[in-house]
Symmetry: C2
């Protein structure tokens, strides 16, 4: 691996996922064919509900990372198509269960599946997709991939339970918040990238480099997502502004605003997080406090820190279109809230 | 394999699971150690909630079947301990999600976990246990076992969705009901038995024989469970009598009573299944109709049919204490409602 220095450029105009999308477009067609084929079932409700979410868009970020990572290391086989689909099924199952857990109204700009078909159907179709993802891995036959993705799945579930038990408690430390987002988001980003090196039979060092890229990108991605919930002109996320606020979710903007607030502000945050302040006026006041304490700015600064680490993690790979696309994907991830 | 004829004896006094429990007691200690060790997590809610259900008893029927099957074929290793724990984790995850889906009040004679900790926690801890079960299988390292249990998990989820879409519809045929109970119950019984032959590296024929034993026992078991819900002096199931009735669940007693009923009776069943009759008086009337149409008797006759097939499936194995215990387990399963 030869060293090249890339600095994350937060001023690059309109960073975009397009280079990565174009890079993997052919592979993604193959992945989509697996996804569509394997969400089928003799029980009509299963493809109907799964299709609502899967066909409903989403960036296919995680399978795209598997495909881009494979391209970065020059893998020329096709085993990663099935495994990228398995990763997307794990993610989709998690979204279906999350929406039940959070009582969400919207997902990817559409009504959440649980509002249309009910919580029971969302729970069970999630279980189905989760099982299917393991079937896909078993068909591939790599015990190493199975180990990575089964342990990642357990970590995701632990992260979700950790988040659940942290909800509506104002006294959550930044460290615990980081543990939660690493588990519930970054771990699957890391695994999605790492398995490309596994099927390509590359060194532990290359596996670890791709894992670190995905993990740091995932952290940055979640930090920015959590910032966007308090930035009123975002509009592109397909979820309602203020959702996290009304759910009393302890995300970094709130953690910083609480830590930096005076006694009155702390009282407000405690009331809000515990569910006693959830009007539009309360949300507006929360956004004011977050702005005056620079809590969003510093959440985004944290995101850039992890973004830079993601870029450095793949610094040792030779320069290529894949590497450029992976760097711009990081810049896209951290720039979304500007 | 040498042939011996065993007839299921529905008149055997007090058939019991005790011989099977005693047969595998030593092995079950090892399985319980795996279960207790692997339900741990740094997130305290996980072992707390999982422990409520797991320590809360249950017969450990499925892991017991793995252990008894291994004994039947003379397997002397210990790989089946971890895999029996994996099977129990799949079952436990399914129970946690079932209770959310059904809105159950009771499970194994205790308050259902979702009533104590809420639906979100039950969904997520179920996901955790499901992931852990795959981690256990990966540690064992048999792709064949992974294939059997991942496809079984998908079949269980499909069966649950099938049952969900059949709920509150009086016009469900016996064939569809059978499809549902094979998928949601019998498939895991079959897999639990089959994997013993896989780790022992026995012939496809022995695998298939154990699969058929488990599958038919599972069907018989579920048929009797469904009958018990309409037998008012049962009391040993840890669930409330009439639960299925109030949920509008189309089980075989209802299917037979509806099919055999006059116009008035059919109207009653349609109203009940669609949720317009759910008082204690309605339940008493339903039990009367089920009695007068012999719907429970014939549900139990169907159970004996599958019980006999389970016994015949292992007819070719040499006589042994294990075989006697497996035959008596069938007799226990079909006798529970007498």
């Amino acid at each position: 691996m030869s060293a090249t220095i890339h600095r994350l450029d937060p001023t690059r105009p309109d960073p975009s996922l397009d280079p990565m999308v174009k890079l993997v477009a052919g592979d993604m067609n193959a992945v989509n064919a697996v996804i569509l084929g394997r969400m089928q079932s003799d029980i009509p409700l299963i493809p109907e509900l799964a299709g609502h979410l899967i066909a409903g868009g989403g960036k296919r970020m995680r399978p795209m990372l598997t495909l881009a990572s494979a391209r970065l290391i020059g893998y020329t086989g096709s085993r990663h198509h099935r495994l990228a689909a398995a990763v997307e099924f794990i993610h989709t199952a998690t979204l279906l269960h999350d929406d039940v857990v959070d009582g969400s109204d919207m997902r990817r700009g559409k009504r959440a599946a649980n509002l249309i078909w009910g919580n029971p159907a969302s729970v069970l179709v999630g279980d189905f997709l989760f099982s299917r993802s393991f079937e896909l891995m078993v068909e591939d036959g790599s015990l190493k991939v199975l180990k990575i993705l089964s342990s990642t799945s357990a970590i995701i579930a632990e992260g979700e339970v950790n988040q659940l038990t942290a909800a509506r408690q104002v006294d959550i430390a930044e460290e615990r918040y980081l543990d939660i987002i690493v588990a519930k988001t970054a771990a699957l980003f890391a695994a999605a990238c790492r398995i490309a090196a596994v099927v390509a039979e590359r060194s532990e060092a290359e596996e670890a480099a791709l894992d670190a890229y995905g993990r740091n990108l995932g952290i940055a991605f979640q930090l920015v997502d959590d910032a966007i919930d308090y930035v009123s002109d975002a509009g592109t996320m397909g979820k309602d502004i203020g959702d996290d606020f009304r759910e009393g979710k302890m995300t970094l903007p709130v953690i910083l605003a609480y830590a930096r607030g005076g006694l009155d502000d702390r009282k407000f945050w405690k009331d809000a997080v515990e569910g006693r302040r959830d009007t539009d006026a309360d949300l507006a006041h929360a956004i004011d406090l977050i702005r005056s304490t620079r809590a969003v700015d510093d959440t985004l600064a944290r995101a850039r820190h992890y973004g830079q680490r993601a870029i450095d993690a793949i610094g040792g790979f030779a320069n290529s279109a894949a590497k450029d696309a992976m760097i711009e994907a990081v810049e896209f991830a951290v720039a979304r809230a500007y």
